[in-house]
Amino acid sequence: MTRFSAWNVFRNGLTGQKGWSRQWRDPEPKKHYDVVVIGAGLHGLATAYYLAKNHSVRNVAVVEKGWLGGGNAGRNTTIVRSNYMMPGNREFYEHSLKLWENLSHELNYNVMFSQRAHVSLLHSPAAVDDAARRYNTMRLTDSDGELWDLEKLKHTIPYLNYGPNSRFPIIGAAVQRRAGTARHDAVAWGYARGADQHGVDILQNCEVTGVTRDNDKVVAIETTRGTISAGKVGFAVAGNTSRLWSMAGLGNLPIESHKLQAFVSEPLKPLLDHVVVFGVGGAHFYISQSDKGGMVFGGDIDWYKSYAQRGNLPIVQDVAEAAMSILPCLGRVKLLRHWSGVMDMSMDGSHFICKTPLNNLYLNAGWNYGGFKASPASGWYFADLIANDRPHPVVENHDLQRFERGINIDERGAGPDPKLHG
């Protein structure tokens, strides 16, 4: 596999681009792997990469029903941030952000991570106080956060709707400068290439059709490309976790599958240099501009449970109304595409990286809205769990039993209703 470097780009420019090799192999499944990770999304690929790199576990397969990065890896708004407050979450997401900061170098693959700042608009003194508490907590966890007053915000982002007659006048913003966006495909490809380089087999078009158990142990998985026996198995299939879980005969999970839509407009000249978030009075809206110029934005989930990867029109209208209320200049901009991804909405809005009732089965699930930004740390901690057969202290409360213990890692304080954690 050819490394990317200025010299290689220069050399191949002179030799008709003939010196590049395949980014990853397309191998036939082996009969046995030490670890089989199900799901070649960002989390599964990152897990395989860190298993090989951090723990020297190299006889690993990543099994994918479609093509790698074809699920929620391509159905998000690519926002990366770590403005979480609950214990466990804040350390986890801050670790993830630190991994993002070095990811292009780490993978020798440009993931186009752009630390353009994440600007959460504030509309009341109570919201400012709440943000002060949250962002101070972040700073105590070695992260960054600051509050901007209206003057500073107007100077930095002059074309938001600051009109005195707006329903929720803007009075300031909570800002994380190290947050930003990344190129979603590049993250999947970079991790796939890195994992493959360490000897990991990525098996695409290989759908899991059954899980074979021997009492409290998984012995093999049945796939459309044959039976694969496994020393350890990891599930990383957020959106469809419950289906795989019942295939393994394990019953119910504290998860519901809901869908979230996102949108991209026609390309515009540079307009928005930051990620801007608007959330007040039932509205929920976040927007950034991609490097191609498209405005990338999204809002709430579709509200009712669904496994369909298509969105409904009332949410399109809601999101468009929110867009108009803070960025009226987008009124004539045409929508280019919109898409919908199926997500694991968990009972407290936080994820699961944990052991399961089966001895050699591990679970990575429940990513709610936050799967994209989490993917590097998700892979890091999941690989750590699989390799060492014990949770890292940072994710020790991110298990399935936390509700029984009375622990809810609930950033919004919304209670045990999955649809409210958007």
């Binding site: 469809n240 419950s242 289906r243 019953g251 119910n252 999970l253 504290p254 998860i255 519901e256 599958s257 509200w303 009712y304 449970k305 669904s306 496994y307 369909a308 409904n312 029109l313 009332p314 009972m347 509700f403 029984e404 045990p416 209703d417 999955p418 649809k419």
Partner: protein, 94 residues
């Protein structure tokens, strides 16, 4: 847009309704063991396919409904009032 046939108001857009959740949950007795409550409050079957779920016609008659809906195709098979007495009364009136 889903169209839900409210037994009282007739067929309406789903934006008139508020989604409740899984309608198959049976809450245990107040003095039931904690494990039963954990199951009822936190654990979900999360069916891909036909499931019974609750909706409330908030911008209409405000009746709570039990809707059989496919979570993959969004096809709605049946709608009835969640309260058995109300369901029975509506059945009798039609």
């Amino acid at each position: 847009m889903l169209r839900i046939k409210c037994p009282f108001c007739g067929e309406r857009d789903h934006s008139e309704f508020s989604y409740g959740g899984d309608g198959s949950i049976v809450y245990p007795a107040l003095d039931a063991p904690m494990q039963d409550w954990v199951e009822a409050v936190f654990q979900r079957e999360n069916i891909r396919g036909m499931q019974t779920e609750t909706w409330q016609h908030v911008n209409g008659c405000r009746t709570w409904l039990l809707v059989e809906r496919d979570t993959m195709t969004h096809e709605i098979r049946s709608v009835r009032a969640a309260h058995p007495g109300v369901a029975k009364a509506l059945e009798g009136s039609s």
